[in-house]
């Protein structure tokens, strides 16, 4: 019997091996972990830390997720543009203003391109910026708290896609419009698009101390689609480059109509020149409504201010500030190498990859090597700005990253691969398949003078069979490649939140040391904070009731409240009195039409409860806090609207 079983088992194993080897299509997946030592290269032992942070956009989740590399472990989903019940983002009274816009409260967006702040062209790890694509907004995430500190709406923009990229001293975060629109917005036949629609490129200044954003100016460009962008750096610092498509200015069936021109453009913008122009009083102020939302770590509260005008600049008014570089076939990614010399136009419908030279561009401008103009903006001669072409590297190039060692890595959507090529000689030196249909790629520090060329993360558009199936919708996914050697090596697949559009990576040591552990209770300036436990109380103002509550392991003060009536609007202002690391408390109330609160040590948050029927209703702590967490609970007595129940509150009294 045993022999028979053994034989059967052996047969199954052999069959397994044969069938695995047969699965060539799946590349090195079939070889498993045994064929390489990939597993040990991504293994971070329990209790050990990762070498890099990766901030990966949450795509249509609207958020920003924080991963460790090389492990691919998820640490946190930072709520940015979408409500997040887990953290009460957009649900509590303090953060609701963060999601205000000129259209009112917009609880969702499509987050795309994170970029980390820089000093002298190197990552400084203070802030991550990310764009909301749908209702144009730019957010700044503070890397001491890993929370969204500020969101500014971008008026005159639509499909905020060529965003949010940072100049090398974080002078500006730049936001370009993908969809051109009538400016100002007005009732117009759609077919009147051509010549009437404009594309706004917004330069948002960043205060070097506080990070506070302000729209410095909007450059009003012809009505093309501005797809992606990157700043010049080092020698090309002071310039910004934007890819365009739909230079045909089609307003319908763009799939066909925007693919007619042999070449579209990369727009080169000399922002230093325009900055000087506006600093000397240039530009035109126009009415524009947009929200500017700022969160304060002192009041633990956000404020939303509606702005009323914006400074616009007509490119024709600043001679020498804007040029077009012809670039084949609807270029998507616009990537600048660490030296600032090369500008890569990833022509997504082209068989070749076009690389422009910054030096040649300056020379062509100086010697007026023009090939016509578009709406008065000079078009430089293609041959005179071209540095070189990567010949036939793959199909559907989208984005290029650099390792700082003279190599570039381009993602190819259609042929689903990452291709490594040499900057300067344009020869392809390696290629690795991606599973499947890679969009963006990311090397930590990729948008800086100093990339950390150890890992490449591909963010894939299609997952198909890479994971256990989860119904029609499968996980979104990224892949990690080791790029420290001559050949790229696929190390790891890991799932991501939403569609990962782009990411920004940074060595952990730059960021981790600044991470805040708690908020000091003594510095809490929340208007409804209860700093001293003796001040815990309940106040009635008409039918508004304000509960000044404290929480510490493991009770609420007060935990018995009477005298609340049906029809009251009850504000729970809850202050966490813990002053130790990693002791948040939560609170939730039965039937409250909102989320729980999750309150960090020293912080105050508020939720609103409108009791609808008489009774005695419990609330409790939602975040397991101590051995007595289950005891952390309380009751509110709700009386009929007409009752005379006296308002009183207590803790630990009979």
């Amino acid at each position: 019997m045993r022999k028979t079983i053994n034989i059967l088992v052996s047969l199954i194993m052999v069959a397994g091996l044969v069938s695995c080897n047969g699965g060539d299509k799946k590349g090195n997946k079939s070889k498993g972990g045994l064929a390489t030592n990939a597993a040990e290269k991504v293994y971070v032992a329990p209790g050990e830390h990762d070498e890099f942070y990766a901030f990966i956009s949450g795509g249509f989740s609207g958020q920003l997720s924080v991963y460790g590399l090389p492990s691919g472990r998820l640490f946190k989903v930072i709520p940015v543009f979408s409500q997040d019940a887990e953290k009460a983002w957009g649900y509590n009274e303090e953060t609701k203003p963060m999601l205000e816009t000129s259209f009112g409260f917009v609880p969702w967006d499509d987050s795309h391109h994170p970029d980390i702040s820089q000093t002298n062209g190197e990552l400084d790890g203070r802030w991550v910026f990310i764009n909301g694509n749908n209702t144009p907004r730019i957010a700044r995430v503070d890397l001491t708290t890993f929370e969204t500190a500020e969101i500014i709406e971008v008026p005159n923009s639509a499909g905020n896609h060529s965003s949010s990229f940072i100049t090398e001293n974080t002078e500006y975060v730049v936001a370009g419009t993908r969809f051109s629109v009538p400016i100002p917005q007005r009732d117009l036949p759609i077919k009147d698009y051509k010549g009437n629609f404009k594309g706004a490129l917004s330069f948002i200044s960043v205060d070097p101390e506080t990070g506070r954003m302000a729209i410095k100016f909007q450059l009003m460009m012809p009505g093309f689609d501005y797809d992606l962008s990157h700043p010049g750096r080092d020698k090309s610092h002071g310039w910004f480059f934007f890819t365009t498509y739909n230079t045909e200015e089609a307003n319908t069936l763009l799939e066909v109509n925007a693919s007619q021109n042999d070449k579209d453009f990369i727009a080169a913008v000399n922002w230093k020149k325009i900055e000087e122009y506006v600093n000397n009083g240039g530009g035109t102020k126009v009415p524009a409504k947009y929200a500017h939302n700022v969160y304060s770590d002192e009041t633990h509260t956000a404020t939303s201010t509606m702005m009323n005008e914006v400074l616009t600049v007509n490119p024709l008014d600043v001679p020498g500030a804007v040029y077009f570089l012809p670039t084949p076939k609807s270029p998507h990614g616009c990537d600048v190498d660490p030296t600032g010399e090369y500008i890569v136009g990833n022509g997504k419908l082209s068989a070749d990859l076009t690389v422009h030279s910054f030096t040649k561009m300056l020379d062509a401008i100086e010697n007026k090597k023009f090939d016509g103009e578009a709406y008065g903006i000079p078009i430089l001669k293609f041959e005179d700005v071209l540095a070189g072409t990567v010949k036939q590297p793959g199909l559907g190039p989208l984005h290029t990253e650099f390792d700082g060692k003279g190599n570039a890595y381009t993602t190819f959507f259609i042929s689903s691969e990452v291709v490594k090529w040499k900057v300067g000689t344009w020869e392809v030196v390696d290629r690795q398949p991606a599973y499947y249909s890679v969009g963006h790629g990311m090397i930590p520090g990729g948008n800086s003078r100093k990339p950390f060329g150890k890992y490449f993360v591909s963010m894939n558009k299609i997952t198909k069979d890479r994971y256990l199936p989860t119904g029609p919708e499968v996980t979104q996914s990224a892949q990690l490649y080791n790029i420290s050697g001559d050949k790229m090596e696929l190390l790891l697949d890991f799932p991501t939140i939403g569609e990962p559009h782009y990411a920004a990576g940074i060595p952990a040591e730059i960021v981790a040391k600044n991470s805040k552990q708690l908020f000091k209770l003594s510095e809490n300036k929340h208007p409804y904070a209860t700093i001293s436990d003796g001040d815990a109380r309940v106040e009635r103002k008409g039918n508004e009731v304000h509960i000044y509550m404290t929480m510490i392991r493991s009770h609420f003060n007060p935990d018995n409240i009477e005298g609340i009536k049906v029809g009251d609007k009850v504000y729970f202002h809850v202050t966490n009195h813990e002053q130790d690391y990693d002791v948040p408390h939560g609170i939730s109330m039965i039937g409250a039409n909102t989320s729980e609160l999750l309150i960090m040590p020293g912080q105050t948050e508020t939720f609103v409860w409108e009791p609808k029927q008489p009774g005695v209703w419990p609330f409790y702590c939602t975040d397991f806090c101590s051995a007595l967490h289950q005891e952390m609970q309380g009751y509110v007595r709700v009386s009929p609207a007409s009752s005379g129940t006296e308002l009183k509150w207590s803790l630990g009294e009979d």
């Binding site: 708690l518 209770l521 436990d533 510490i552 002053q579 130790d580 007595l628």
Partner: protein
């Protein structure tokens, strides 16, 4: 299947009957291990059963940064006032000055504890409740409710200590 349903129905009916069946009125609350009636005089607890919070130990200095501390004879009232402010914001959620609450009351604490032990308990509670025999026993007495580390500076802890002297 039908049989199962029938059995379930029978069980449900039985349950109902047993619930409604008791006529005798229960006293409120649970009555396990109730204390004997008050008429009986409580026995003197043997010394070994003394509550940790009532135990006097004026030699144990505890575990932590404070190794030795001489208190001046005069109470520094300015320092005590500062200590009261710190106490109000960071301690009072669990310690009322003169009655047992989540934790013990500080009134009279110098009759039972050394100043070093008190400061180490404030500054180093995790270590104390794991390794100091008295602090360990206190954690048990207070139902496992942990002494929170409120991250006081040494200066603040000293101020709180001075405030305790005024109680």
């Amino acid at each position: 299947m039908k049989n199962i349903m029938r059995s379930l129905t029978a069980i449900a009916i039985l349950t109902l009957i047993s619930c409604g069946g008791k006529e005798e009125k229960k006293k409120d609350g649970i009555q396990i291990g109730q204390k004997p009636p008050a008429t009986e005089t409580p026995k003197e607890e043997p010394a070994s059963n003394e509550k940790p919070s009532e135990m006097v130990d004026l030699t144990n200095k505890g575990i932590g940064p404070i190794k030795s501390l001489e208190l001046p004879a005069e109470i520094d009232q300015a320092m005590a006032a500062k200590g009261m402010e710190v106490y109000k914001t960071k301690c009072m959620a669990c310690h009322k000055p003169d009655k047992k609450f989540i934790g013990p009351a500080p009134t009279g604490i110098f009759e039972r504890r050394t100043p070093e032990w008190i400061m180490n308990m404030i500054l180093n509670p995790e270590d104390m409740t794991q390794n100091d025999p008295l602090a360990k026993a206190l954690l048990v007495e207070f139902n496992g409710s942990p002494m929170a580390n409120q991250n006081l500076t040494e200066e603040e802890a000293r101020q709180v200590l001075e405030y305790f002297r005024t109680l």
